[in-house]
Symmetry: C2
């Protein structure tokens, strides 16, 4: 069991998390959470997306939100873009880093963007060329890497083939996403170990959901295999469109708490992060799935009753 | 990473779980859940405890409940006993297996039974002799093995010393309990590895709470170290008396789901187990913390929307 190291947290609450919330946050509300994340030393944040505002109204103010962040050169601030049009909008707003999603499952990819996986890979050439010629950094998330809610198991070789086809592009990071929380630690260990051993050209990240309670166990599985970048969502918001009662992304403060308790450094101030989570809870007006915010840190001591 | 094997589940929902619920279950209600657990092939169940009914009214009908179970020779049915008086009551009710709890933290042990850990170990001689001469099987749970809510860190050597002192007794199983959910996977791996390597005389089990979201990750940590018996609670009921909003024991159906998805056999029928969890939810009248009961199994497929 790998027991030490350093981890980078890529915060997705303001994008993946918020887009399933019924309340639409104003720019001021987003800033109020963002500023606490920044104060907690969270250095990589997916702040929004450039998609059609009718499809994802929660992200309609992403451009305006970014206008308040763009001076923060020390941070990695990323927007999700579904297509070239989104990328052009991101560029028009001065965004310097974008994330493009391709689903390893054809059925899931068609649901998302009305294209097969192969077609999305084809279209990615336009995206990566436009980004490269405009000095925009691109990363790719491979959705349903550990299973598809329509097709079930996604063969490991499909992931390997997609990564292979991404070699020609000028991208640094590839994120393997368990989009609907189907992954288990053994599967996660197996795929990430293979991927990490096969390619040194990319930095690999993992994106887990806690839909079936395995979120932190999957972090352990992939950390053991050599992954040290994890997507997570403040408060664990995010949900799953297919399972209304289920929880969402792995919770940032729970991930940071576990890793720091293990002696793995995240560079994040957990106490300030917990403030950020409470701020988000107050803004959303409901309890969030994260557990450490409710129970306190493991190091929390109680007075002895008389 | 250890990727295969077989695991035994020791179900504690009807004892550890129910004793923090405000609703007191009748014998009929307990039987209704128990019968589904049995149908799901759960073979080891802590069915109740013989403690003062004023202290734990939820367990007051443990004797009557057991009178309906005692013919089930193929199952391991265990009662918690806090002292000799409890053991005598268990014997009077025909119980054949009991579990005795000693806390590794003096402060926690004093809160539980008004004795130091050393005094509890002394008193255990009476217990184990009475049990032995009456043909009753005894197991021991070492509470706060991974941390105490009053004292904080519990030195690993305290656990080792307690186990060492248990060698003279005729006991088969020792359970290391993370009573208030403070353990992390690295710590769990470290202690269980040491314990498993040091003693071949006992079978070791682990008892985790999901208070800070690390429950399943801790199962993975200890499974990798060689532990293959896990306490868990149907629906994840149990809570933590110190953190009202926090969840309880690791959830049986979530543990079984994760292990079976990994190819680790539990001999348990997950579908029937999920029925048992829903029955318990209906009886308790509130949502339970377990996640698989809400989200469905990872293998659950969804129709493709038009």
């Amino acid at each position: 069991m790998k027991l030490s190291g350093q981890v980078t947290i890529y915060e997705v609450g303001l994008r993946d998390g918020l887009q399933l919330e019924s309340k639409i946050l104003t720019v001021e509300e987003k800033l109020s959470v963002f500023n606490l994340l920044r104060k907690a030393n969270v250095s990589e944040i997916e702040f929004g997306s450039f998609v059609h505002p009718k499809l994802v109204p929660q992200m309609a103010n992403s451009g305006e939100f970014y206008s308040h962040l763009k001076e923060l050169e020390e941070m990695q601030l990323v927007a999700l873009v579904p297509n070239l049009k989104g990328l052009e909008l991101a560029k028009a707003n001065g965004v310097k880093s974008v994330n493009y999603v391709i689903s390893a499952s054809d059925t899931h990819n068609k649901q998302n963007v009305r294209q097969t996986t192969e077609e999305s890979l084809e279209n990615f050439h336009q995206i990566s060329q436009f980004a490269f010629s405009n000095g925009i950094n691109v990363s790719v998330t491979i959705a349903t890497s550990f299973g598809c809610p329509f097709e079930g198991t996604v063969p490991q070789e499909r992931i390997m083939n997609i990564i292979d086809k991404l070699l020609v592009h000028n991208i640094k990071r590839i994120t393997l996403a368990d989009t609907t929380g189907m992954a288990n630690p053994k599967q996660v260990y197996s795929l990430t170990k293979e991927v990490v051993n096969e390619w040194r050209n990319f930095e690999f990240a993992c994106h887990f959901h806690n839909t079936r309670g395995m979120g932190l166990a999957n972090i352990i599985g992939s950390f053991e295999a050599g992954i040290s970048i994890f997507d997570s969502s403040l408060g664990g918001i995010g949900g799953c469109p297919f399972a209304p009662g289920a929880t969402g992304n792995v919770c940032t403060e729970d991930v940071v708490h576990m890793l720091e308790e293990m002696g793995v450094r995240t560079s994040i101030d957990l106490d300030v992060l917990l403030e950020a989570s409470k701020r988000l809870r107050d803004i959303l007006g409901h309890e969030l799935p994260g557990q450490v915010a409710k129970a306190g840190k493991s190091s929390r001591l109680y007075p002895v009753p008389n």
